[in-house]
Amino acid sequence: MTTTAPTTTGVPRARSRRRVKPTLALGLVLLVPFVLAALAPRLLAPYSPTDFDYSAILQAPSAKHPFGTDNFGRDVLSRVIHGTRVDMQIAVFTTLFPFVFGSLLGALTGFVGRWADAVVGRVADLVVVFPFLVLVIAIVAVLGPGLTNMYIAVSAVGWVAYWRLVRGEVVAHKQTEYAQAARVLGFSPTRVLLRHILPNAITPAIVYLMTDMSLGILLGASLGYLGLGAQPPTPEWGVMVADGKNFMVTAWWISGFPGLALTLAGVTFSLIGDGLADALRPRS
């Protein structure tokens, strides 16, 4: 069984002028604080993300603790800042392998077709009909919880989306005039694939990558809700939101601020994704 991939157009793209769009620009600007916080959390955070302060438990936001403190008296702002590195890592590591592997495989099977395509198609079906959470929980349970094993679990499943996207594009591009022309000109198949087809076919995958990054962070949060996410005392936004759920009424800031960080990161990735889509889309 093969499912329809959300292909965009099969029309060849003239590579557009690389002018940065406002969406993309805004996205990139928003990304700056995340990058800074991820690179140098110690410089930005006023306190240690892990040290307790029994004298300052569950304090509301104040000048001393702008984001308040949690049930251990830890400074929420510092934890959010230190969490940035962890969450950016999650965003990258949950998507890196699926993107690279899925896209290459999609290009290859889309280009070669025949049995290779059929075999990978069956495997992809298998992954898709398998309940994702079962797989993730099973992998995390076998290998032990923690971020690394979460990456493995997500990678085992995540490549399918990229495979499908890129494969669909490659199949469409294979028929196009310039690909045919390149072949007629005597370029090797590898060259046709890598130089002519892939650069055009990869666009939707790149756009999807941005969405996938925030989905990856959200998955970390869901696993946190089930207790299978990042391990303490690692500050991670999703787990912070999950841990704060008992305090939503009495101390909203414990889950509110990491939730805000999650949202901002999601918006940022999405703006970049939309911007990239615009920038890479052909002018009509």
């Binding site: 307790f52 029994y54 049930n71 251990f72 919880p145 008992n246 939503m248 009424v249």
Partner: protein, 524 residues
Amino acid sequence: MNRFVRMTLAVGATLALTQALAVTRGGTLVYGRYADSLFLDPVLNDANLDIWILTNLYDTLLQPSSNGKGVQPGLATNYTVSSDGRSLKLTLRPGIKFADGSAITAQDVKWSLDRARKPDNGDWSGSLASIDSITASGGTVTLALKRPDPTLPAALATFNAAIMPQKLFEAAPGKNDAEKAKAFAEKPIGSGPFVLSDWKRGSSMTLKRNPYYWKKGADGKALPYLDAIRFEIIPDDNTRILKLQSGEIQGAEFIPLARVNELKANPKLNMQLFPSTKVNNILMNNRPKLNNGSANPLSDVRVRQALNYATNKDALIQIVTYGTGKPMKSYMSSTTPLYDTTQKGYPYDLAKAKQLLAAAGFANGFEVSCLATSGSADDLALLTALQQMWGAVGVRLKIEQLDAASKTARYRANDFQMRTAAWTNDINDPSQITTYYAIYDNVESVHTGFKNAELEKIFAQSQQETSRVKRAAQYRQIQSIYMNAAPIVFLYETPYPVALQKNVKGFVQIPLGNNIFTETYLDK
């Protein structure tokens, strides 16, 4: 024949005379539980989810008293033990009936106890192991014993010794006892104050009033007061509390301790902290080597004591239990019979901890790993706090979160260095927890590997000691030996947090955890 020595029971002293005459009858109580029961057979069972409500469906010959210290009459009006302790005779209450109106006979009692003590049946047959044979005649049941057994009255007040209707059980479809139990437990007819009327698994369970229940209420008429109880299964703590606050349910169990103070301040609610037998501790692997072959610093008693001294229990009680707990001063809870009130526990003493560690050759500390249950906010809070506390004496704590089944698997294979643990008694006697925590031959002292010949000798004696005073002295020794050896990190005792609407009266969760709805009523 034996001369029977009459043992008097505190007859119905707990009958709520203080509740005056103003009880209201009727109505349905909706009670939010965090998870559903699994299997409603009293014998083939080991889940608190079942045990803690089973006594509403099945009555026992004796019942645990609500303070947790003794027993009170149940289906039997009294019991007598022979002077040599080799025989126990029970007098059945006249006119008792099952929920379908059929009479409860001495034969039903004999059959039920025989089923419960059959070694192949379930996890609990051991509690009745001292019984040699049972004879039933008319209104009396006599248990001939292999040896004197001071724990037997408490065992007869425990859920697995529930009285079931032999005829109905045997008429259930199935080839063997296990299959019949499955069929019978779908819609059990028991002897308790309520009877199952509807069960939507994972969603709700409705218990209806058993019109044939024997116990009388404050108004002189038969209990229970309620027409029905409906348990609703609401796994998420927040949702359970929101439903209670909005009045959709009248009671909610397992309120997170973090929210107790908030609910206490709510004038519409009655936030109850029922005294429990729950002790929270950390089990340590006492063996010289770990499963992976590496040396285990925890095999040195000084190291184990040091960790106990380095644990600031008062701070933990504030951080993890939000002030609701109290420090553990013995391996058993202070609500357990024969708990030794002179035990001191381990006070917080960093200097002593450092000194002990230095003496053991760990002046610079060491790394230790602890298994925690993933998703447990309490485990997380506890271990994050211990990471800090033990860090002060150089001990670096690594937290390893596992889902409960994986954690249990590692524990059973003795493949752990430390793990979080909690215990509640199922029987009103210290022998149960002692068998598990301190006796090697059962489950290797809850898999710590702790073994102490002297302790085991005293325990064996205490199991046949009918004098309560002598038994108390033996238990004092047992508790002291255990405390010194420190096979575990002693943490704190916690209560059962239950929040109720203000109009819910007469509900009690006894220290064993059983939810007792017999005398519960909804005030107008």
